[in-house]
């Protein structure tokens, strides 16, 4: 067994209102960052786990996303990085 660190991004599905992104964008404008066009806020989840190999680690993380980490009705997920540690 080896140890892996996997990062997952969970983002609001396209077309779903993202008030957090909008509020952040407004706040950035107020703070003088006028060149900001758009902001989206999602979750960045880092999972440390043991697995036989990288593929197994990835598959297991994918399962976690489908079962718990992402809500299939409103969110998309993507595995952002996998690192042996």
């Amino acid at each position: 067994m080896s140890r892996y660190r996997i990062a997952v991004h969970i983002v609001p599905r396209r077309g779903i209102l993202d008030p957090q992104g909008k509020t952040v964008a407004d706040a950035l404008h107020t703070l003088g960052f006028g060149s900001v066009r758009d902001v989206h806020v999602g979750r960045h989840i880092v999972v440390d786990l043991e697995a036989r190999d990288q593929k197994a680690a990835e598959q297991s993380t994918r399962d976690m996303c489908e079962r718990l980490l992402a809500n299939p009705v409103t969110e998309d997920f993507e595995i952002a990085s996998v690192e042996a540690t």
Binding site: I16, L17, P19, Q20, T23, L68, L69, N71, V73, T74
Partner: protein, 230 residues
């Protein structure tokens, strides 16, 4: 009639629901522990409000995997009545008992106030004691109450008469649809296609005593009683 009220870790309206049933409705109630696979022969299940698992990750996401939820899901599938309030509504959506999802309020703020709800249908086991179009005053208290679903789902809900409550205008403007949390089509409560699971963000159990400002929520409990004991 016996109400089974589920206590998840972090539930905090379980006791309020219990009081409403026992003190105001005069019926039996029992708490169901999340780790047990035992519904104690309840006639009705209440998924109460609160912050199960701190609402960490997403409201209701973790609670739906509790052992007791597997039994609640089975109970619902067999047509057993389930009243899912606030966090309970979030759990029911996560568990697939109801369509859609409850997302962060558009204001990004928790909102606590008494809202006005309009009864959209009296043709459910939860609202048969009300008049259609009646307006109820019921407290809300939530940070994640923005009801969201895709257009097809929303159309279907409306078409099948499954939107049970809508939020009514803010202070002042009488009949405008409105929403304290950004809910699509001002939806405050829906039922599943079989009509035996009601999810609602407002707290009917907090509106059962005129001393506290409203007893408009009691009708929901009375409606269930009328149907189940009929």
């Amino acid at each position: 009639m016996k109400f089974g009220i589920v206590t998840f870790p972090g539930s905090n309206c379980d006791y309020d629901a219990y009081q409403a049933v026992v003190e105001k409705l005069g019926e039996d109630a029992t708490f169901l522990w999340h780790k047990d696979h035992d519904l104690h022969e309840s006639d009705v299940i209440v998924l109460p409000g609160g912050f199960s698992y701190g609402d960490y990750l997403r409201a209701g996401a973790i609670a739906r995997f509790s052992p007791v939820m597997q039994d609640v899901i089975g109970f619902a599938k067999r047509g057993g009545p389930v009243l899912a309030i606030c966090n309970g509504f979030q759990i029911a959506c996560e568990a697939g008992l109801l369509p859609g999802a409850l997302l962060r309020n558009t204001s990004l703020k928790f909102v606590c106030e008494t809202v006005r709800l309009r009864i959209e249908t009296t043709d459910t086991m939860f609202t048969n004691r009300y008049e259609r179009g009646a307006v109820l005053r019921v407290p809300i208290a939530h940070g994640d109450g923005r009801y969201t679903a895709d257009d097809a789902t929303l159309d279907k809900l409306e078409g099948e008469g499954r939107v049970v409550f809508r939020y009514l205008g803010g202070p002042g403007d009488a009949d405008e649809w409105w929403s304290p949390n950004g809910s699509m089509r001002s939806i405050a409560g829906i039922v599943n296609d079989a009509g035996n699971v009601l999810g609602m963000m407002p707290h009917p159990e907090r509106a059962v005593d005129p001393l506290l400002g409203s007893e408009d929520g009691l009708g929901i409990f009375e409606s269930m009683l009328a149907r189940v004991t009929a």
